[in-house]
């Protein structure tokens, strides 16, 4: 990847988003509790610690300051759901979680996952990045976290356009920080 340092202005912009999302934070722990109570009684289900761990791993794998627990919770719920309906998945998740602390112990000889620093957690993730457990978390996140219209809105993706009449009169060419292409390259729409 070819990179340049990200500009200051961009950071300021997203600073605005964070204050906007902070109001959701209050509701998120209630949601988490809900997820816990719904699933806690099933045999072989993931327990409270497992679920806490999943949240923590997912946020480390896909860090977004502008998202909150509520957004990640949908991913966790998806994992719980497929784990309780599919034995193979259940095994992968259970195994992955129990091995995680082993991995931490062996490599850092120090803390459990939750006690590890962010940098240590990243190191641990790199170590398990080829496991089935890790792949399952990746594919579930890609198909869930980024397929959520609340997340779309925060990232600036506008979703369905047909019900709003498309962008012909709603900014398909509203970019104004570069020169307008000449008419022979980009003719004006004549409605």
């Amino acid at each position: 990847m070819y990179k340049k340092p990200i500009s200051r202005r961009l950071f300021l912009k997203f600073g605005g988003f964070s204050t906007l999302t902070s109001k959701y934070l209050l509701t998120s722990s209630a949601g988490l509790l809900h997820a816990l109570t719904v699933y806690a009684n099933e045999p072989d289900s993931l327990d409270e610690n497992d679920i806490k761990l999943l949240f923590s791993i997912l946020k480390q794998m896909y860090p977004h300051n502008i998202l909150n627990d509520l957004h990640y919770q949908k991913v966790v719920e998806k994992i719980i759901e497929s784990s309780s309906s599919d034995e193979a998945v259940n095994k992968i998740i259970k195994n992955g979680i129990s091995k995680l602390n082993d991995t931490v112990d062996k490599t850092m000889v120090k803390n459990t996952w939750i006690e590890s620093s962010s940098a240590e957690q990243l190191e641990t993730l790199k170590k398990i990045s080829k496991t089935e457990f890790f792949s399952k978390l990746k594919s579930t996140t890609i198909n869930t976290l980024y397929n959520d219209d609340e997340v779309w809105e925060l990232f600036g993706y506008e979703g369905d356009a047909f019900s709003k009449g498309g962008y012909l009169y709603r900014g398909f060419n509203d970019l104004d920080w570069l020169p307008e292409p000449p008419a022979e390259a980009s003719p004006k729409f004549k409605g």
Binding site: M1, L10, N147, Y157, D160, Y167, L175, W177, E180, S186
Partner: protein, 522 residues
Amino acid sequence: MNKINFDDDSAVLIIGSGAGGGTLANELCQKGIKVILLEAGKHYSIQDFHNNEWEAFSQLAWLDKRTTSGDWRVAQDFPNLPAWICKTVGGTTTHWAGASLRIQDYEFKAKTVYGEIENANLLDWPLALEDLADYYDKAEDKMGVTRTHGIPGLPGNNNFKVMHAGATKLGYKKVNTGHMAINSRPRDGRASCMQLGFCFQGCKSGAKWSTLYTEIPAAEATGNLDLRTETHVLRIEHNESGKVSAVEYVDKDGKHHLQKAKIICVAGNSIETPRLLLNSQTSQYPDGLANSSGQVGRNYMRHTTGSIFAMFDKPVNMHRGTTMAGIIQDESGHDPKRGFAGGYELETLALGLPFMAAFLNPGAWGKDFTHALENYKHLAGMWIVGEDMPQEKNGVTLHADEKDQYGMPVPNVHYDDHANDIAMRNHAYKQGMAVYDAVNATNIYEVPPYPSTHNLGTCRMSKRSSDGVCNKWGQTHDIDNLFISDGSQFTTGAAENPTLTIVTLAIRQADYIADQLNSREL
């Protein structure tokens, strides 16, 4: 209800209703020829399309199992999804973007112009641009291609503005909103583009050409079409004299049928077409139908592709408006000084957030990845489409033990990048990055190829019967009433998006079939 009896052997039977099959069906019906059109997918209408990437994909994409091998990155990222092809009435013309370019004169003579290239199975096409000129004209008129037949270009969207500004700063001259089979004004009973930005999901305004709502209803209106949907063809049968005589298919209730026909045209796209020929082997044709050359399923091409996305300080909103909104054509010539043979086009491309997450860097996680996604609004993007080298070892074979839901061996798609492909891709990445750098991108991303949207060459046309599968009309060298009617015919890939040429060849093939029927050659 079928209009034509199973035992009636007088009609032309076409397999697949996409760009090739749908067009051929209509052209034949217009001439008064009876056609049976078999399509594995369902019949949807414009109202059924979704402005949602995953919903649209699961609605229309071909999801039957396929396997992959070779050193291409798709095999690693999407081992069971080598290609993005649709299974529905209209085929992949439901999800295509509409870019409609003619193959250039020199590209029809790849072997002559490029000379011998090691490990490439190059060949000149058995026809030249001038043989196709009138048919290209007809195809452009039929499809309503902008910047032809007095049809104005489309207005450029934000993604195009970024491309245009960067490209012209770099000194590129051939930069515009392209030749698109999308109405820039109402035409042919269809509306003009609303700039929805969901071209890859099925166009809900009908502005973009698709056989679903142009060719197929026109063919139905003649009364000569017998369209059977949700019919999956398993085998093509032949008679004692070696001519093809019937196909076996499964209908939606799982019932098997045998339909006789006079002529059979295969247009299942470049994976299913050779799969069907290979699966139809008999004691008379032990290597599959029309395969005396051994070239059925070989020389699979998918274009040299890749994308470049770039982040800017200010918003772009690339998702607004046509997906392929513009093109840079300055690199499409053959200029060996660049270190490779053939040329490439750079075309704008936008993905929605769900597909960006899946395709930006498959398998990626961590801060760099999430940073790109949360700045979605600030991204612009373009796609590389360049000529890849035909190689004998690249292609479609029947899997030794895996079977699909009908018990038919699944296809394996093998692809190794040729050194020429890699050199071209690297050059194109560098140029694409330079375009965005010229307008002060803050981050630039090299994005690996997606599952193949352009699938070509697996039953190629050739002058000599030992070099390829069909002649310049798409008629197979071995069996004169068996035709190849899709992109499998391509002798080489050229730098251009292929569909205009597939449609052009289908119109031309219809004339040839009609002539042959009239003169009782067939």
